[in-house]
């Protein structure tokens, strides 16, 4: 047995000390350090991009949460009210009365700069709708001086934010360079001020000429109902399908086919799910157009593969000895899976859910086909059923529409909308993230 040491020359040579590294060890430790470094670098790259994106989203989007408002006291007489209500385009009439009133009032106060009604009209946002609904809701306010804070025109806002300079202004029907003097004077007088824009968070979409009034609130509700549908359907269905395929299905060609098929569904472009949803849910099942329910169903189909793939991977990763242990004490396969395997696979399932829902929340393409993109998000649903069935949009669709509008103020809104979307996403995922931490364990 003299050869007991024969295959150990390399180690023998280093037997001296643990503190000195052999050349090989040096190499290996260098490799280790490098490997670890790659990890750090990779993580830093990932997080770095996130930070970069977050910063640019915030920088572009934060202005959407403030609004430039004109605060003036204004009195509407009963005759003016009746006259405006008699017109076909009542809101325009209100605007006109308001602009005239404000112009007169300001002229009385005597600003240093010359202006006329046209100037004030250009400086105001679209106010007619707000005024009309105010006076219709509060008829007692007619004839009483009331202070209004109404949105200023989007260009005024950009000017005050410093995004629009005098040099850039080309005289036109939206704004004239001379108007800016009036703006300066009004800002000085405290008539034009900046305020937090609650309406952006709670409001609905507006026409393209009214960026000041646009809000994302209604489409948040749309997204909420869609995500509700997605979560309630795709998580149980996805997990159930995965359990069947991974734990119960016989291993044969057919189940292989199903397996490949599900993975393949993940690669189906989302718009194709839109085609399918249009055909099945709207044209065949006669569900209403533009309904969050339909959007949710389509996104469910789209999210399923993500959840199935991650759930199956997580189920596969549970060591078979756990199943044996459960079966060994007389648990049925179903009990073994639900009592032991599933809790251990939970982190993976939740990850799939987090990623799947994140993806679903940001998806626009399939919504285009089922009528949720455009000018849709108008009214808050007045209940659970109408939340699911009444026409509504969704956050990404709203953002997409805003980004396509020509008034740059909407571009800002779009970025603000992205912030809201990300906050929504984080809130939505928070529960899953916490749950996942709870379920994580090593064995």
């Amino acid at each position: 047995m003299t050869d007991a040491t024969s295959n150990a020359p390399a180690i023998k040579g280093t037997a001296s000390s643990l503190l000195t590294e052999s050349p090989l060890m040096k190499k290996r430790n260098a490799a280790e350090a490098r490997f670890r470094m790659y990890g750090v670098i990779a993580l830093c790259i990932g997080l770095g991009f996130l930070v970069f994106l977050a910063v640019s989203i915030l920088r572009n989007g934060i202005p959407a949460f403030t609004q430039t408002v004109v605060s003036v006291e204004f009195t509407l007489t009963q005759e003016q009210f009746d006259e405006a209500e008699s017109k076909m385009l009542k809101t325009a009439a209100y605007t006109e009365i308001f602009v005239n009133g404000v112009t007169a009032q300001l002229q009385e106060r005597g600003l240093d700069v010359p202006f006329d009604g046209g100037t004030i009209e250009r400086l105001m946002g679209k106010v007619g709708g707000d005024l009309r609904s105010f006076y219709r809701d509060n008829p007692e306010a007619i004839g009483v001086p009331t202070t209004f804070e109404l949105p200023a025109a989007s260009r005024v806002e950009r000017y005050l934010q410093g995004n629009l300079t005098r040099e850039m202004v080309v005289d036109g029907r939206f704004l004239e360079a001379a108007d800016l003097d009036v703006v300066d004077a009004l800002a000085e007088a405290g008539i034009i001020t900046s305020a937090f824009d609650w309406n952006f968070i709670t409001g609905a979409d507006t026409g393209v000429d009214n960026p000041g009034g646009a809000g994302i609130g209604v489409s948040v509700i749309g997204s909420f109902f869609m995500m509700l549908v997605v979560l309630v359907l795709s998580l149980p269905i996805g997990v159930a399908a995965s359990i069947y395929l991974e734990e119960f299905a016989p291993r044969n060609r057919f189940t292989d086919l199903i397996e490949v098929n599900i993975s393949n569904l993940a690669a189906v472009p989302s718009i194709v799910f839109g085609i399918l949803g249009l055909a099945v849910f709207i044209q065949f099942a006669h569900l209403p157009q533009s309904a969050p329910l339909v959007g949710g169903l389509v996104l469910t189909l789209m999210t399923l593969p993500t959840i199935v793939i991650s759930t199956r991977a997580a189920l596969k990763a549970v060591p078979p000895s756990i199943r044996d242990a459960a079966l060994g004490v007389g648990a049925s396969k179903m009990q073994a899976v639900f009592h032991h395997v599933l809790p251990l696979a939970m982190p993976g399932i939740l990850t799939g859910t987090i990623i799947g829902l994140a993806q679903a929340l940001g998806e626009t393409a399939p919504l285009l086909l089922i009528g949720m993109v455009g000018y849709v998000a108008r009214e808050y649903p007045d209940g659970f059923a109408s939340g699911l069935l009444d026409p509504n949009s969704a956050m990404p669709a709203q953002i997409y529409t805003w980004a396509a509008r020509s008034d740059e103020a909407f571009f800002e809104k779009a970025w603000g909308g992205i912030i809201v979307l990300l906050l929504f996403l984080l809130t939505m995922n928070l529960i899953a993230i916490l749950l996942r931490r709870k379920f994580e364990r090593r064995w």
């Binding site: 000895s321 756990i322 199943r323 044996d324 004490v329 007389g330 064995w443």
Partner: protein, 266 residues
């Protein structure tokens, strides 16, 4: 050293046959692991399976409660009857079978749950306890029997996976006896136990024998001699010899048994 010679215990009357295996063959893919094994296991008896490592003891043991079903590549042929019923009959519910035929695996495999939950799981799913107090009682009794109570009683809520090797093994024994199975299959239940714990487990086995059948795989001939009434010697997948334990150890018929027994060291 008289404690190491086979104890001459009286066998239970052989007429009450519990398990009867006929022509059992097991294949792992192409590997023929169990070759035509037929064996009868009596009620209220302890049967020991001995044989060199890799001879198929665990495999055969796992056939008896159909745990081999879970291995994809494993294929079982032949008949195994328990109480006269073919357990491989399609009508048989393997779950019910396993509730009746408990098992302690060779490698301790506690659930990644608390010690209490590990033991309570079986009684819970089988409805053996009407309330929490009863369950507590079952858990305590099982842990006591498995000689783990003293070490575990202060940490019933600690995870079972944080126990030492031998403790895990005893936990798995406690888990298996907590459901009070009619047949208990124990695959080297004392391999990681010190002599005292081993003695306690052997006592438990003896106690179980009063009402149930126990099949134990062991590498310790002494242990086989001490606890079992019948011994089966496996070799390369064959059942070489099966007889009363004293007979096997004093007067083996087959030369292979002879040489395995006589070559004994531990």
């Amino acid at each position: 050293m008289n404690d190491m010679t086979p104890v001459n215990r009286k066998l239970g009357t052989m007429q009450d046959l519990k398990i009867s295996a006929r022509g059992v063959q097991v294949y792992y893919g192409d590997n023929h692991a169990i070759k035509d094994v037929s064996v009868d296991i009596a009620h209220k008896t302890v049967t020991a399976f001995i044989g060199p490592s890799g001879c198929g003891k665990s495999t055969f043991l796992r056939c008896i409660n159909r745990m081999n079903d879970t291995i994809d590549v494993a294929r079982v042929e032949g008949d195994i009857l328990i109480d006269g019923e073919d357990i491989y009959d399609p009508k048989v519910d393997p779950v019910q079978l396993r509730a009746k035929v408990g098992m302690v695996f060779q490698k301790p495999n506690p659930f990644p749950k608390s010690i209490y939950d590990n033991v309570a799981y079986g009684p819970k799913i089988h409805g053996l306890a009407r309330n929490k107090a009863e369950l507590d009682e079952i858990v305590e009794k099982s842990l006591r029997k498995a000689a783990l109570w003293n070490e575990a009683k202060d940490r019933l809520n600690a995870p079972g996976t944080g126990l030492s090797g031998g403790q895990q093994q005893r936990l798995c024994i406690a888990r298996a006896i907590a459901t009070a199975p009619e047949v208990l299959l124990m695959d080297e239940p004392c391999s990681a136990l010190d002599p005292i714990a081993t003695a306690q487990v052997e006592e438990l086995i003896d106690e179980l024998r009063q009402s149930f059948s126990v099949v134990i795989v062991t590498h310790s001939m002494q242990q086989a001699a001490r606890v079992s009434q019948k011994t089966a010697f496996f070799h390369l997948g064959n059942l070489v010899e099966y007889d009363d334990t004293d007979k096997i150890f004093t007067n083996p018929q087959d030369s292979r048994t002879e040489s395995y027994i006589s070559g004994r060291i531990g």
